[in-house]
Symmetry: C2
Subunit: 354 residues, 2 copies
């Protein structure tokens, strides 16, 4: 078990990101906590254990579990076990499990200990790090939640190797997004030059990829842990468009990663059309996404526009009632800007311009 990175967040609270040699190493670390521990799995990750730990909750896998019902189930199990504030909730799974475990830990007795074991690439590079926890509410993504960094995040590459291609690409979209937001070009270059190794999930390359991707996320979140300074919000590049697509297609027709990739494409196009983004940069970044197989040319049907716009209007990045979009001036230079609704409509329905 090695420390990969340490993150300092709200209230000076530290999250340690640890890299386990393998699942056995991981289990022995978690075994040390003994009692006063509640595990949260989903129906997929529960299968990884021959015998589940004595106190656990197994959520139905999938986005539809990110709701108040799951929250209450976890809280009730914690209470039933008599967990104190010094007790620990361990989330073992992807983004849904980690979000639910973290949100529950943040409100159980106003906060208990939290360990996250992300089992997907998406969760390793994004959801598990940075303390954002949320549930979907009345059909809208992440509307209700809190900031609550995990004490520790445990990563084992064993789990990464068992992911489906689709699930792996789901996470890789966030890595590419981080590459565009990075203050240097190292991650971008790694993605350009080591595509085969990455897709073959070569351990050494993945560790480098993970580390560089985390470094970008940490750079933004340490400066603005609770997203109040307009810095952390830049990590939402591609997410305003992406979430609206995800929500209007009822969470699932497209994976989160595909939506983020697509949304980043729209943000790049928006930047170009407003003269904010250089056309060559936007075109290069779009090509990078495409080289990993993301569908950047997808456009929503005219009949879906009303629904899409409705979801867009519920975005959390608002100022004076106007939704703000993250645009890129260039590598690592993000800005927040409201877009005219006609511009958005043109971008998501019209033909691609690259």
């Amino acid at each position: 078990m090695n420390t990969l990175r340490t993150v300092t967040l709200a209230n000076g609270k530290q999250s340690t990101i640890l890299l386990a040699d393998d699942l056995k190493d991981l289990s022995s670390h978690l075994g040390n906590y003994g009692r006063s521990v509640l595990w949260v799995f989903d129906t997929n990750t529960a299968k990884l254990f021959k015998q589940l730990p004595p106190v656990h909750v197994v959520l139905e896998s999938g986005e539809s579990s990110k709701n108040f019902v799951s929250l209450e189930r976890i809280l009730f199990a914690a209470m039933d076990e008599g967990l104190g504030r010094d007790g620990r909730i361990i989330g073992f799974g992807g983004g849904v499990v980690c979000d639910m475990a973290a949100f529950a830990a943040s409100v159980y007795m106003r906060g208990c200990h939290l360990t996250l074991v992300p089992t997907t690439l998406l969760c390793m590079v994004d959801a598990s790090v940075g303390g954002k926890a949320a549930i979907d509410f009345r059909g809208l993504k992440n509307m209700v939640g809190s900031f609550y960094p995990a004490d520790e995040i445990l990563i084992s590459f064993d789990t990464l190797r068992t992911l489906s291609e689709k699930e792996f690409l789901n996470g890789l979209a966030e890595v590419i997004k981080h590459a565009l937001l990075s203050q240097d070009e190292e991650l971008y270059k790694l993605l350009l030059t080591k595509k085969n190794e990455i897709l073959a999930r070569d351990s050494e390359t993945l560790q480098r990829l993970l580390d560089l991707s985390l470094a970008v996320k940490i750079w933004y979140i340490e400066q603005d842990p609770t997203e109040t300074l307009g810095i952390r919000q830049m990590l939402n590049l591609g997410h305003t468009f992406g979430h609206a697509l995800e929500s209007s297609s009822h969470f699932g027709l497209f994976g989160h990663g595909s939506c983020v990739a697509w949304g980043t494409g729209r943000a790049l196009e928006a930047g170009v059309s407003l003269g904010v983004t250089e056309k060559a940069y936007a075109s290069g970044a779009t090509k990078l996404f495409k080289s990993y197989g993301y569908n950047m040319d997808y456009r929503i049907g005219r009949g879906d526009w009303i629904d899409f716009r409705e979801h867009l209007s519920k975005d959390k990045k608002k100022e004076a009632g106007k939704v703000l979009f993250v645009l890129l001036e260039g590598q690592g230079k993000a800005i927040l800007k409201p877009l005219e609704i006609q511009t958005v409509q043109h971008l998501v329905i019209a033909k691609p311009i690259f």
Copy 2:
């Protein structure tokens, strides 16, 4: 509108406590927020308005509204109105309304603006200040919640004068508790020497009482905003015994204040029996409570002990599975100590020792 005190809490977030000349002054201050505001009332405080503000939620008055259903009602109303993160929830009422408004504001889009207008003495001196918000869960008080200080707390004495005697005494118990926890004797002396003025709710005396009481609370919470250093917990003097009584009598047979007064009496007795508290100090403090009409001699029936013990065991102040009690070594000197269950049983069932 005058600033009474300013509190700096978690993340350096400041709460300003403002004193309004009267209800009109209060309304004109709140009127400035214009749109993007959601008001939370209960069935009692809603009656204070001839016409309710356009966007509002009215909760059923009473502790039974401190639940997930009320939380979801507020969140849904906020969403329905299209409130952004820069929107504001205003809680107008007692502890239940302020707790619900604060918990909702803390999780709505991971945090929006929050104004509290406490309308009871209890809420003015306690619930509204310090950022603790919570709901009851599965029959246990404040099991689920968060730390989320209000941006501002608006107090108008007009409301205090309309409170019932019972409701006024409900808050005064916390004031007396603060007097025992204070680093000086000013509040204690005020309570001893100005009983008639206090009970007659003389404005000048009440303002002094409120200010001194807030000063004590602020002294503890500023040092330990999220109750992790064993300092803020001292404010729970009387609450471990008191909450168990309140819970086992199903939230309502006794008011919160009566329970806290009674619980503080039990904590003083516990201290005396362990040689922690001087008998003369305990006796004096008990007399002070009695002089304001609190029943300090009440003991639970033998048949209620199992239920009481069960509720006690769910207290949040636990270490290694043992419930910790706040005891007093003397004026302003609180300590945390586990008690043997036999000691507790003896204290809550046996005859009074003072």
